[in-house]
Symmetry: D2
Subunit: 396 residues, 4 copies
Amino acid sequence: MHKIAMLGTGLIGRFYTMSLQNFRGKDEIKVVCSNKLENAKKFAGEFGIPRWTEDMATAIQDPEIDTVIIGIPNYLHKKAVLLAAEAGKSVLCTKPLAMSGPEALDMLEAVEKAGVFHGYLEDLVYPPKTLKALHAVRKGALGKVLWARSRETHGGPHSDWFWTKELSGGGAIVDMGCHCIEIARNFIGKGIRPVEITCWADTQVHPIEAEDHAVGLVRYENGAIGQFEVSWTFRGGMDLRDEVSGTDGTVWLNHWMRTGFEMFTGVGQAGYVAEKAEGDTGWLFPVGDEVGSLGYVEMFMDMFNSMDKGTAPMETFYDGYIVNTIIDAAYKAAASKKWEAIEVKDWRGGTVNQENAGLKDYDEQHYLIKEEKMADEKVKVILKDKKTGKISQIIQ
Amino acid sequence: MHKIAMLGTGLIGRFYTMSLQNFRGKDEIKVVCSNKLENAKKFAGEFGIPRWTEDMATAIQDPEIDTVIIGIPNYLHKKAVLLAAEAGKSVLCTKPLAMSGPEALDMLEAVEKAGVFHGYLEDLVYPPKTLKALHAVRKGALGKVLWARSRETHGGPHSDWFWTKELSGGGAIVDMGCHCIEIARNFIGKGIRPVEITCWADTQVHPIEAEDHAVGLVRYENGAIGQFEVSWTFRGGMDLRDEVSGTDGTVWLNHWMRTGFEMFTGVGQAGYVAEKAEGDTGWLFPVGDEVGSLGYVEMFMDMFNSMDKGTAPMETFYDGYIVNTIIDAAYKAAASKKWEAIEVKDWRGGTVNQENAGLKDYDEQHYLIKEEKMADEKVKVILKDKKTGKISQIIQ
Amino acid sequence: MHKIAMLGTGLIGRFYTMSLQNFRGKDEIKVVCSNKLENAKKFAGEFGIPRWTEDMATAIQDPEIDTVIIGIPNYLHKKAVLLAAEAGKSVLCTKPLAMSGPEALDMLEAVEKAGVFHGYLEDLVYPPKTLKALHAVRKGALGKVLWARSRETHGGPHSDWFWTKELSGGGAIVDMGCHCIEIARNFIGKGIRPVEITCWADTQVHPIEAEDHAVGLVRYENGAIGQFEVSWTFRGGMDLRDEVSGTDGTVWLNHWMRTGFEMFTGVGQAGYVAEKAEGDTGWLFPVGDEVGSLGYVEMFMDMFNSMDKGTAPMETFYDGYIVNTIIDAAYKAAASKKWEAIEVKDWRGGTVNQENAGLKDYDEQHYLIKEEKMADEKVKVILKDKKTGKISQIIQ
Amino acid sequence: MHKIAMLGTGLIGRFYTMSLQNFRGKDEIKVVCSNKLENAKKFAGEFGIPRWTEDMATAIQDPEIDTVIIGIPNYLHKKAVLLAAEAGKSVLCTKPLAMSGPEALDMLEAVEKAGVFHGYLEDLVYPPKTLKALHAVRKGALGKVLWARSRETHGGPHSDWFWTKELSGGGAIVDMGCHCIEIARNFIGKGIRPVEITCWADTQVHPIEAEDHAVGLVRYENGAIGQFEVSWTFRGGMDLRDEVSGTDGTVWLNHWMRTGFEMFTGVGQAGYVAEKAEGDTGWLFPVGDEVGSLGYVEMFMDMFNSMDKGTAPMETFYDGYIVNTIIDAAYKAAASKKWEAIEVKDWRGGTVNQENAGLKDYDEQHYLIKEEKMADEKVKVILKDKKTGKISQIIQ
């Protein structure tokens, strides 16, 4: 049973609070902080939180609380983390962890030095679908993962500060690329080193400095590719999908607009449809359980259960640091128009030296390249001669 | 904060317990009962429940507990309810409530007379998708509901007793028709009286006495139709879908096999896929959050929150009684090959006398029947003359 | 190479003509007939047809033509068929064949007596998806078919005459039930006799005499059920789906709104979306190949190829006669509120005497009822003792 | 009415022939050529083609034929085109046009010099879905196209020669990237110049020289991105999808595995499922109309109708030349690890100088960045001050 200080009363603070309070749970938010006192007070009233403040330090140092949840703009994360570390409180920080890789490393070192519990609130690796898919992948259902694409696109963030680069640290890559990078990393394997990246980023639509659309390809040491697609220019709602290909299988996850809830209304009384939905007549695709589908429920359970067991949660500040480091390289590559190395100073994973191409024997003389049933129901086999390298086919 | 006696350690007891324990919640199961002591003991060990027994009365009368949850075979529900009512405990009973309408009415009268809280554990009106759809329907997004089909089909129940008619009270209609009937009733409106039913039921595949496949049409007083489709003969997994049509809109809900999680595996290491899934290689359709998707999470929250607030939950024994009454009429209609009246002795809803056909004015002289954009992008309008009744068309 | 008289210039005549002219084909429409000469002339101009007339007999007796295609209102089908039979021309008639079973039988007898080629233009058994599914079903992919549901619902027909019962013969059942009945009959097997029917039909929305919404269950002699769902009250476009369940498999066909074409537009320049689509902004679900998806292309190929080969096409007037006979029984059942016998005077199929329940041996002592992998990855088996009939379970 | 020489009797020759012969059409294949006479003879027998040969020149110079269709391995295209140009025959060449951009330019110049009709058989811009989507895009339904992704992945090609780089010119990029590049180019606009490309390509699985998996991003002069994803390592069948985003809308096309045909079979009698399907039990996703879904039907209609009208078809050798030029740059970029310029020597499109970011006025003082309905049903608006550039938000 934990007593929590909630920093932030925007969309993310609201989602976190709804997740924490929804399930007749034991953990309680005891103080809420916003830089506008009025907002903090109103939020406290709405959610039955006993204390509110506009001073971050007051909230963090509140003697009753043991856990700080950071849901404030990116440029303030470091300050909040340092205060929490100093106060010896457990600290859970929203995504992205920091404005840059080096800043993230400072924050990681601070919490590790202080010995406090640290969790990285990367909710989008926690949707129940994702957890089940990761479980299957780890059991080998897909063989070796070759490619993992994660896509998050919508019409742009809710809050004004996120559209201002100095406050957010960047555009769609910082906002959503952090999710996609970490999703791919989970599927490919956290112990596999991300090596280099190519990236396209542009400001296609909005009158802003940061990119509103980007695609990047992260190459991992074992040859796997993590691909992110992020956009603030997308029309039609929020597109939130992951696709993973392996040598033995495929996973397709759709988290938002095509999840088995379809509604047509000619009269438009459907009210709020889903986060970032567009329109309220015609065909709509509401999401039943938004906080669950976004992973908040399982994420906080993992965080508090891990805290209670004294183990690390699935996502720690170390993961946030890796993600920030990859984002830094993404911006560098977008500017240099080259593949750029991903410089992970503090690499804690392994080293692989794995050749890509697997060789499957067909018979003593041949490797098997492929077999397939044709339209005439015969089976065609493509073979490679082990000695000559010549490729041939037989029909069975 | 509640102390619970869990009666039953089969699939349903397991799902209930997982739902109750999953969310760092305040409510606790303090005693578990199975007719096989060994099962109770094992279950208690697995879920950290302090006491276990094979005697239902012992569990119900346990002085620490305030709430009894009934997850045992149908023919035992009445006995458990009467004991709980007598003991003054809150009682939550799984579906179907009883073996018949009259038995359900006895149970309803018992809990009302004792003044205890009673909840009907009809989980399938509680999935977040369903709750959101019901909210939209009540706000008018679909206009008047005309038809609601609910379908639940799979390869048959898990437990031996359910295949034995004397213990279960029937076949697929009792097992799953109860869900479908109550889902349709929620969409059409609980205050609208169910009037009559036609039903086909047959034992198409299995060597059993009860029906393994059935379809029924329930006509409500306002002309709406609630349609159920249930089967223990379905191949391919579990099909769990609801479709609702109204004068102004449509809702399609898919709860299980097409919800945004698709996996292909050639090697079959995917493990447990989902309740009633078939096969473990090829294309699989796992379900991320099974207990959430089946409504257990929201159902227990409603039950305990209502208990705390002193209000009735969304589903009470009265609803269970209506459902059992409709099931009785379904079996009668299947046997008589006629539409049969649904005899609700204790009707607590309203009376409607609503004509079906709405008349929309097109102009002073005509009613509008329909308008549509054609392939040549012109608009065709179908009209009815108010005086002569003659139907005509114009192209705009 | 055939020379065709096209009777009718409404939606169906247009679709037929587009199908016939679209593929650089050899068969040519040489004369078109509409009861309004002006429409015939305009249609001829649009499609490059050399002659037009308002007199049906003139078109049918045109010496150049060998084939008459009937695409006119239902109450005129018989007259056209009798003229064509008399003139010795091949005759292809749109659906439904007739206004009633006895009228259909008259028409069947007329073409058979005259010895002319007769094809029933039931396009919805000809979509490529349906043909492929029927092929798989006939090869045994689904085992014995137990249930086939066909659903066609939209906002109502395009033409004024179809809303007038005297001209059309009925409402949604006559309009679309004919499709659904014949689709189910193809999946269940044309040699299996349809025995009896229960039906709900109501006028829920429109100011018309005929039903605008209906559901019926046709029981076949082998225990299989053909279910039709038809509505002129549906909102959201056209819903065109077939679902078939067998002892060994399942088929789901979606012909219209969810076929892999999804478009969101905020500006509404998408033009014509698809037949009976609603709205032109927001999420739209266009159909790529409408005439192909509705089966027109394969249907006419079957008709003309069969004509050339001297064989019967897949759908003949006999099929139209069976469908009209089932529709007659549907209306009778809707009125009598009982299951009504389907009286096929001229039955040309077989007789089955097939017991439903199959018995699978588990071991010498037991039948197998079911086996399933559980959440704990164990396998549960449900058995029936061959002697005692007692049902039990074992966990493997 | 055309007389055709078909060069090639492999999968592509078969698909072409089926498309041409399927619709009672006027155009006829009069001679077929394979480098193995036996194959040519067998093919001729199967499809009723009067003459066969193993000599390409004989087939092309056959005096009866006016049109040559090239469906042979890539390294032979140029030879066949030059022969056809010399013989003054219309020539339709399968994809990719050539082994490289310069070779394609030679071929283009040859047919233009000879003044013969030339069509590039890029079938995947011709599926009816794609044609309808292109029509909507051109009418403005999506506003300005910002990004177009085309994906084609499966388990690898059918024929041995395609696995051998010297005969095919490359791997998955040459095989399928050509499709994806041209699909994106059609959506973005053929008049917009492709400027530069970044590309990842690797041999992840097979013992071959060429790449079996690749992703590329083509930047167009107006800032739009065409993205291709191609793989011979995909498991689960063939994945064929296009996604297009514009300022005002979105299009999602799925051509193969999720198009409204789903089948489960436990017994595996479903026979041939679809091109490159995996497995024949469990859940299968057959394709109804394969040749139609792959665009062959509409493609040949466009080719022959254009020939008859004396106009250029939708896809000419010029398009094939552009595609080969982009592929060349893709390989260069994959090797250099940099964005590489796309050098189109013979550019026939326009020049654009279009700024990305559009400015929408909110009021005199502000630009509108975004507006959205929030969970509390209020509307939040993000604005940018026209003078100061400061970003702010208001709640309505």
